[in-house]
Each structure stands twice: as structure tokens, then as C-alpha cells.
């Protein structure tokens, strides 16, 4: 059978970088990131977070082919920013948001667990 091995979906092959950046040759402050072994899970939230940045003029992602386990994220920013800067900022923001989300969830869980004790 010629089906690709399943682990190829999440193991980055040796010699390739997880993330690489290519500057656009025609437009200033535009470029695309290629993220190996990621899919819509990361692509879509990254796109969403980039859209929240007021300096980002364009952000989009695509999964080039279902059997190529990588995504392309294209970013175009205003002159006061740069794609790499927007990208780093977006992921740092996302990290902070997830941290607060996790904390909120833990708090809510303890609150829910303690509800019967308080006689609700």
C-alpha cells in the first residue's frame, strides 16, 4: 500500500524547520510563514489573532493540500510594523489569552465543585 505513514502528520522531518518565513518580493511588509506539521487548529486561531492587530492589513492561511502536512500563513502589515513582529505579537497575545482562559476554567470548576457544599 502506498498510504503515507500516519505519524508523518505530526513529526517534523529531519532537516526541515518547523517555521520558516519568506518575504514577499513585490510588496513591502508582506510575507508568508510556512508552518510544518500544523493544520486548521493553529492556522485559524493565528488568522483570528492577526486580524485583531490594527497594524495588520491582510492575514490569511491555507492548507495547500490535504497530504502536505503544513500551512501557509500570509501576513501583510502597515509600514510601522512587520510580518514577523505581528506574528510574534499574535502568538504572545494568544498565549496570554489561553493562560487567562485556563485560569478562568479552573476557578469555575472549583466554584462548581463547592456548590453542593454550600447547600445550593
Amino acid at each position: 500500500m502506498n498510504a503515507p505513514d500516519r505519524y508523518e502528520r505530526f513529526v517534523v522531518p529531519e532537516g526541515t524547520k518547523k517555521v520558516s518565513y519568506a518575504q514577499d518580493t513585490k510588496i513591502m511588509n508582506a510575507g508568508s510563514f510556512t508552518i510544518e506539521r500544523e493544520d486548521h487548529t493553529v492556522g485559524n486561531i493565528l488568522r483570528m489573532q492577526l486580524h485583531r492587530d490594527p497594524n495588520v492589513l491582510f492575514a490569511g492561511y491555507k492548507l495547500p493540500h490535504p497530504l502536505q502536512y503544513k500551512i501557509n500563513v500570509r501576513v501583510h502589515t502597515a509600514t510601522q510594523s512587520a510580518p514577523t513582529q505581528a506574528y510574534t505579537q499574535a502568538i504572545n497575545d494568544l498565549d496570554k489569552e489561553l493562560e487567562s482562559l485556563k485560569e478562568a476554567f479552573e476557578n469555575e470548576k472549583t466554584r462548581y465543585d463547592e456548590m453542593p457544599k454550600q447547600g445550593y
Binding site: R6, Y21, E38, T41, I45, H51, R52, L101, K102, A104
Partner: protein, 368 residues
């Protein structure tokens, strides 16, 4: 619970600094998805969509942290429902995808068949065995790679040895018949190199798993039918369970399913009375509406259980179509997790969040 017909825009209270409020119809476009009889209408999400009116539609980290809310509605041993308010669909979807495909569990991966005279074929039997949920915490195990030797930290071994005596009635083999082997495999590998050497088996356990794990590693449900044996038939086999993720095979998925839906909101554009109200109540298959008695024989329809709405749109079709509006709150997600049993659902969710954080870190640390 949302009151019917939330007249005040939700986000208006979130921003005390902002003097400007959007007119109601625009606020609806900003925060709701309206379900018309034929199709839903999309609103605006772009940060500067209402900039001309002095309204900031952007979301900063601080704003997110301040507005984000969780509410647990139901939490049992293996299923959970909670509300997440103030997140984007892409985040909710990322959690769903991670829960289904990327949170690891333990599942049977190798079956060493010694004897199988039952009517069920070896490969079908193996497949059935693979799908049995195991009662083992995957966080205590390591992944095994192709060249690794199975040891007590990455493999769980079970034995199944059942036979049906001649002359006895048919026997049903249940998952409870799987017997945990904490000392590792009992099947010998080839012949020992030297007499006196410890017999080599398919695993090399350094110590008994009984000493490592607090509770025995059984199966989650003891009443799953694996096979049926007629008189004189027998099954003897040994299985090795390893850690994996749902991406590779669905047997490693920790959830039966995980899904979300946006909070439904049912609003009356105008009052619906008497006969029309009765008809509307009858029309709804999930009983979203109720009748309110106004005295002197007059009746009025009210929205009693908007959460039950499945968006079947029955009420926006036909004669009441113009009076009822079905909406969904864009940033309010009702998330449901059904665990298969290896981990409780709330732990699964925290694992999913951690998984996503790790992904983010990986995606940034390797950019140079």
C-alpha cells in the same frame, strides 16, 4: 440564562468608557448571527467596522481577559457541558479539534494471537479489541517509538484466555475477561540464548507495574462484548496497549465526541396572541415557547426555553415567519465533552488548553 429579546446590546455594558452606542440593528449585526428561513446572515467582525461611528470593534488581550467567562452547567463522571463566553469561533473549534484528535490516551495496538478458533476473524477481533476504552491515565505513560523496547513505562499488557467447553451453551466473551499482566508479557520470544537466562518475552519490564501505579490498570467498562464462542471454541491472545493520539487512529480519541453550539436566542418582533400563539407553541418540536395567560381569555406567546432551540427554523417559516426572529450569540459557545473514560472531562479540557499552549510555543520558538 438570557432573557428574551435582549434589548440592550450585550457589549454596551462591557465598555463603560464608550459613550457612543450602536443603533440596535447594527448591534445585532455585530454580536449575533441571524437565522432567516433560508439561510443565516453574517455580520461584521472586522476591528474597524464601526470606526466611523466612534465605536471600537477590536479585541485586545486585556479586553479578552476581562470579558471572558466560563460557566459549568453539568459535570458528571464522563460528560460535561459548559458555556464559554467571549471567545472567537476559531478558539472553540481549536479546542474541539484538539480534544478529538490530539489529546493522548492509551489503547490496544498490538494483538499477539495464540489461538483463535472462534467464528470471528483475527483482524476483526483485533479491531474490536483496539476500540475498548482502558482505565489508564495516559499522563503517566510515555510514547513508544518504532525502535523502542516495550517497557513498564510505555506499554500495558493484557491477556485474554477463554474457552467454551464442549456440551456447554454458547459463551459471550466480555471486555472484563481481559486480565492485566503487571509483570509484562508471558509469551516467550524465540528460545533463550543460554539455558539459565531469564526467558525473553515480547516486553522487557524492569519492575512490576503494580509498584508504579496506584490502582490496577483494568478496562473502563467490563461489559463490552468482544466475541461469542460456541462449544469447543477458544480464544487465547495477549494484547499490548500503547499511548497515542486520535489523529493516528480514532481508538486513541479520549472523547466519544466533543462539540459546541452558539447560544440560541429567540426574539419576537411583535407580540403573538391567541390562536397564532397556540399554533406557534405546537409548531416547535423542542417546546421553546409557552403560553402566558393575560386574563379575560387572552393569551400571549412567550419564549420560555430558548436554550432548547435546535435552530430547526420551523417557527420562522410559515405565517409567524415575520414575527419571530432566530439568532445566535456570536461569542457565546455551549461546549459539550463526552469522555470515553480514561480521563474525566474537565481534565480533558485543561489538557486540551495545555496542548494548544504548547503548540503556540512550538510555533514561535522555532522561528529564527
Amino acid at each position: 440564562m438570557p432573557k428574551k429579546g435582549t434589548k440592550k446590546g450585550k457589549s454596551a455594558d462591557d465598555e463603560p468608557k464608550e459613550q457612543n452606542k450602536l443603533p440596535e440593528h447594527l448591534e445585532v449585526q455585530r454580536t449575533r448571527v441571524v437565522c432567516k428561513a433560508d439561510a443565516p446572515t453574517e455580520g461584521f467582525q472586522y476591528a474597524g467596522a464601526f470606526a466611523a461611528m466612534g465605536i471600537d470593534n477590536s479585541v485586545s488581550v486585556d479586553k479578552f481577559c476581562k470579558n471572558f467567562k466560563v460557566m459549568v452547567n453539568r459535570l458528571t463522571e464522563d460528560d460535561m457541558e459548559f458555556d464559554m463566553i467571549g471567545i472567537d469561533a476559531s478558539i472553540a473549534n481549536a479546542f474541539r479539534r484538539i480534544l478529538i484528535a490530539e489529546v493522548p490516551t492509551m489503547a490496544i495496538e498490538k494483538v499477539l494471537m495464540v489461538d483463535n478458533t472462534s467464528v470471528i476473524a483475527d483482524e476483526v477481533l483485533s479491531h474490536r479489541l483496539g476500540l475498548i476504552p482502558l482505565d489508564a491515565d495516559p499522563r503517566l505513560f510515555e510514547y513508544i517509538s518504532e525502535n523502542d523496547v516495550p517497557n513498564e513505562r510505555n506499554t500495558i499488557v493484557y491477556k485474554l484466555h477463554v474457552s467454551c467447553k464442549r456440551g456447554s451453551p454458547r459463551l459471550t466473551v466480555k471486555s472484563g475477561d481481559l486480565e492485566w499482566l503487571p509483570e509484562g508479557s508471558q509469551l516467550p520470544l524465540a528460545s533463550p540464548a543460554q539455558s539459565g537466562d531469564k526467558q525473553k518475552t515480547y516486553t522487557s519490564f524492569g519492575q512490576s507495574q503494580k509498584d508504579i501505579f496506584e490502582k490496577p490498570l483494568g478496562v473502563k467498562f467490563k461489559d463490552i462484548t468482544i466475541a461469542r464462542l460456541g462449544p469447543g471454541q477458544a480464544i487465547e491472545l495477549e494484547v499490548h496497549a500503547v499511548k497515542g493520539v486520535g489523529k493516528v487512529h480514532a481508538k486513541w480519541s479520549p472523547v466519544a465526541t466533543a462539540w459546541y453550539r452558539m447560544l440560541p436566542e429567540v426574539v419576537f418582533r411583535e407580540e403573538i396572541r391567541d390562536d397564532a400563539a397556540e399554533k406557534l407553541v405546537k409548531k416547535c418540536p423542542v417546546n421553546v415557547f409557552d403560553i402566558e395567560d393575560l386574563g379575560n381569555g387572552e393569551k400571549r406567546a412567550v419564549v420560555a426555553r430558548p436554550r432548547a432551540c435546535t435552530l430547526c427554523r420551523e417557527c420562522v417559516m410559515g405565517p409567524t415567519g415575520e414575527q419571530v426572529e432566530l439568532r445566535r450569540v456570536r461569542d457565546h459557545f455551549i461546549f459539550t465533552i463526552e469522555s470515553t473514560g480514561a480521563l474525566p472531562p474537565e481534565v480533558l479540557f485543561t489538557e486540551a488548553v495545555r496542548n494548544l499552549e504548547e503548540k503556540c510555543e512550538r510555533v514561535i520558538s522555532e522561528l529564527s
